[in-house]
Symmetry: C2
């Protein structure tokens, strides 16, 4: 959580945000977990009575007050009013091979901040890692969402083979395949497409790249657009963040 | 270095790259350091006689052959031919507050891959870290440059105050100030500007943001353009990478 280490300077100016699942209504009392109590009480040093904000990924952001901390670790908050209406993140899926642990943490954190709606780890021939801990990365995604101000949490899928992902892919959803051997500049390819109602996906490959047969298979799919991220060879997580940042900046630009 | 962990699969298809400082010519014998020998010999398992590529940030990329490894740790390589002519990275400076160690590592690595030409750590009122290890980050930047295929190494400046940086700033160089309180969408603001001959800079703030007086001072500078990276509150290093990725993608787009 973003403020952990700078509470003295700015905790008064920025409201603490918590993600709490469930259906809410004004005046509801919600139980918060031990780790949330630890964060509020010991890290942020907020006493009962102080205000925070909470979101559930459904209604938007609620202003809430801390009612109490219980002895056994949990606590209770009370919802005061809806302070920000819900707005879904852009309908964007990120497909990526699992990386060594810190690099996957980073990829999940950054793509959550930028605004991805679903993270799909895919197993490809040259992936080096064949494990993906959904629980750990869901927790990373929640923390990043709390910090960056988004009103929902990206979905985290379990590890799937590239083949399975392609066979289940919705035909109307464009998939931008970031190909290190070259393609259309990503901003040009995504112009107009990224805002389509069916949403879009971004696929980045493992450090070893894709095999020739994976590449052929990808290029055959009617929904795939082959894009380039420039002439340098980017690491997997850099490619993911660079591609998302470019497309999301382009969306802003188009709206302005 | 990029290939360390997947040597079995792809070491044959991708050439190992080393940064070696100095002026070169065809046929030159160059001494390589102990750590470079360790990398070639023990990590990549390349015997004498094998080919690698080297670059010095001046001529481009040279094809070279490993002549020998000496007993005391160093080694010698011989330059065969210039395999790629020099091309400078875009004239882009990144200004950022130093972060906790892993996050600065990350920022340096990613911005090097994306193609920044100079990294300038700046001390602002709300910076939490007041140290910046130039040597460590130069080494990070070299490793990232070797890996991503660029032909130069970004310059790494020592820590300066924001005030000093602004007072020494070249008037003809645009500085995109990423302001979390809002500004022009970055792609719109950078259109045309980012390609100017004088180059450009990108400034991102610390987690606590800028003070009101820093903000006023920044906005007064004739070279500053206030830009927005969207509605979410990005971490410092995410903001840096997102801003650079958007501008660099736009450059590609404009060229196509």
């Amino acid at each position: 959580m973003f403020l952990k280490n700078k509470q003295n300077k700015i905790s008064n100016s920025i409201r603490i945000r918590l993600f709490v699942e469930g259906k809410y209504g004004k005046g509801c009392l919600l139980e918060i977990s031990e780790s949330q109590v630890h964060y509020l009480k010991n890290v942020m040093r907020l006493d009962a009575g102080k205000q925070i904000t909470v979101f559930n990924g459904l209604d938007g952001e609620w202003l809430a007050t801390i009612v109490n901390y219980e002895r056994k670790g949990c606590g209770t908050i009370k919802l005061l009013a809806l302070s920000k209406p819900y707005e879904a993140s852009p309908n964007c899926w990120l497909l990526f091979p699992p990386l060594r642990s810190l690099r996957t943490d980073y990829l999940v954190e950054k793509s959550t901040e930028i605004g991805v709606s679903k993270l799909i780890p895919v197993k490809t021939s040259y992936s080096q890692i064949s494990r993906f801990n959904v629980r750990r990365h869901r927790s990373n995604a929640i923390e990043a969402s709390e910090q960056c101000g988004r009103l929902d949490i990206p979905l985290i899928e379990p590890l799937l083979s590239l083949e399975d992902v392609l066979s289940m892919w919705p035909e109307s959803r464009i998939l931008f395949f970031c190909d290190e051997t070259g393609g259309e500049p990503i901003l040009k390819a995504s112009y107009g497409c990224a805002k389509s109602e069916s949403g879009f996906g971004v696929l980045v490959g493992p450090e070893g790249g894709f095999t020739i047969s994976e590449r052929i298979k990808l290029k055959k799919q009617p929904f795939v657009r082959v894009v380039s991220l420039g002439s340098f060879k980017l690491r997997t997580e850099t490619a993911a963040i660079a591609a998302l940042s470019a497309i999301f900046a382009s969306k802003d630009y188009n709206n302005s």
